[in-house]
Symmetry: C2
DNA sequence: ACAACTCAAGAAAACGATTTAGTAAATGCA
DNA sequence: TGCATTTACTAAATCGTTTTCTTGAGTTGT
């Protein structure tokens, strides 16, 4: 622990100055190659490891990226969709020599605001997987000039890696439409940018096909709340004029709906069709396999990582807002049947 | 960014020396309370944020904990059980003023070994959620004198937060036994400490109840591989003398088994009973609700966090191995039926 | 009134790296 | 040979804290 070797120790061993050792390690021009080799050899023998704090103090960068993953429901890392994106992001930035550290979201006595935490730890950039954009400290962070990349939220000055909510939702509707469904219900999530885009897609699609989605086919259900989805599904099934297909806001609520149907002896997809959204692991495990939108979380993480690092390493390239749209794809599954067969 | 205010700036503003400012901020005795107040007021007005690098360089500690979450299957953060533990751990250490940073597990060009990463970043301690204990660099890290806490792996010199595999497995067997099951199959995971403990529990329980678990009731299935579990379940259902209850190594494989049964028209739990392990979210969503062992991931994370910080802050208290056993509990669910009813 | 203290502040060294400025020796060129 | 340039290295300042050692003023005790 304490006995770590520093440049000074190597300098002493090699009978050279500390600056020469530093230059040798950083492969600077003004050290002869003979000395460079010798110094590096000794450094390796002495098991030299540079001191992050010292170089970060001296340099302008830390190669450390702060991560915010803060959710109303407090699921945080247990949210598979976000966990997937973060995992891919982590791999991407690690490959480019960066490291990630979580920002304190809530607990901890007299914690700093997000922005102060960034100043304190000198993060080179911040990746917001999920946050409450109404929060004052989030706005403060976004107003500062630290590079930020976020998921699924449009910003004036930062990068938004956005899944193609509008397009994906349309594709899903088309898939369902193509199988003959006309009475389509949508159990959408609570109000947010994501929800609004999907609802818009829904409205546009319906209009274009001269269909209507009556109010009683549109329930609001909190994202990932399977219990609530079960209850709402039951209510919807009790309608005098049942939909032939129910779309859910995510896979967990869809499974919540599925279970209630199975309990009631309603067969999926023979009696009614359903579809989820996201394409998390479990969607392919349940039977019938869920029809869903498989979001390309790997691509989202990779793009988020690369965009952020580019903004860090080439500042000035662009501080204006940028929206990278990542398409998802319909995962056919087995939970949407063909009408009239 | 660059325009951050330092102690020097405050000193200038207050017409005092830097050391006085530092002492005032750290509430040292040898500054008059009048000056302290004045300095703190100015510091607040100037939006002073301490420089983590500078203080970490000077101090011995960083209040940063390294996290290793490296799995054969590469699921990493997508592994809900581990994600739950990590989430609880994160909350715990944040409450005590610490921050967590992921260690580079694999990618990244010329990455340091785990131990060198620790020396480089000067982590105060390391939390190993999951790692390959055969790896040389893991052994090297464990041999060093940095405080380490791990999950479900016994070590001579470190803290092991262990779910009570043996006891939990026995409880599950007892639950199944109490419902009349005698022909119990176990689709256990691949060889590991966890698997061995559960198998031992199985063997002991069977012996004590003068039962036997024949070889054809014991299949090996990789953890969380639902596809594989489906296939193996099919094979097991084809046995001339079927078990009345199949235990799986985790909830995902159990659901894999469940789906194959539903496809074959075999009713759970009327025709056959099943049970999972872990108690992840989905276990309570599928129908029938899965009978499973609900692991206390919250407690595991809390204990891991507190034990680690205690070892960090009070070194010398004990460097010997320690095993903290955390009990899980049987989640009755609906997937185990009563025999002879 | 004078030694012995306490109190409140400052100066300076240290942590470990990087970088700028400086210097001595070696080389180039006429 | 003499002057300019290059080469290879060192000394010292710097990043922003923390801490130890001084110091001078004020207080106490006899």
């Amino acid at each position: 622990m304490g006995e770590s070797v520093s440049l000074k120790d190597i300098a002493k061993m090699c009978n050279v100055s500390v600056s020469t050792v530093s230059k040798a390690m950083n492969d600077r021009a003004d050290v002869s190659s003979a000395k460079k080799e010798e110094i590096r050899k000794v450094a390796k023998e002495m098991n030299y490891v540079p001191n992050y704090m010292a170089s970060a103090l001296k340099n302008q960068y830390t190669r450390n990226i702060g991560v915010i993953l803060s959710e109303e429901t407090g699921q945080g890392l247990m949210h598979e969709h976000f966990a997937r994106i973060l995992n891919s992001f982590k791999d991407t930035v690690e490959e480019r020599g960066y490291v990630i550290t979580f920002l304190n979201s809530s607990n901890s006595p007299n914690r700093f605001s997000y922005m102060k935490q960034c100043q304190y730890m000198k993060f080179d950039g911040v990746f917001i997987v999920c946050a409450d954009y109404h929060q004052e400290e989030v706005r403060e962070l976004l107003a500062s000039n630290i590079p930020v990349v976020v998921i699924d939220h449009t910003l004036k000055r930062h990068v938004n890696i956005a899944s193609n909510q509008y397009g994906d939702m349309r594709r899903l509707l088309q898939f369902v439409f193509d199988r003959g469904h006309r009475k389509i219900a949508y159990m959408h999530g609570k109000n947010s940018e994501v929800t609004r885009d999907r609802l818009l897609a829904c409205k546009d699609f319906m209009n274009e096909h001269h269909l209507e989605m009556p109010k009683e086919y549109m329930y609001t259900c909190p994202y990932r709340d399977a219990e609530r989805a079960s209850a709402l599904t039951k209510a919807m099934l009790a309608l005098p004029d049942r939909p032939t297909c129910i779309l859910y806001s995510d896979d967990l609520t869809a499974i919540g709906g599925l279970t209630v149907m199975q309990e009631m002896g309603i067969r999926v997809p023979e009696d009614i069709s359903i579809a989820g959204y996201d394409g998390i692991n479990i969607a392919g495990i349940v039977r019938p396999r869920l029809t869903t939108i498989r979001q390309d979380t790997v691509s989202m993480g990779i793009q988020a990582g690369n965009k952020l690092i580019n903004r860090i390493e080439f500042p000035g390239i662009g501080l204006e807002g940028e929206k990278v749209i990542v398409d998802g794809m319909v995962e056919p599954g087995e939970s949407v049947g063909v009408i009239g067969r």
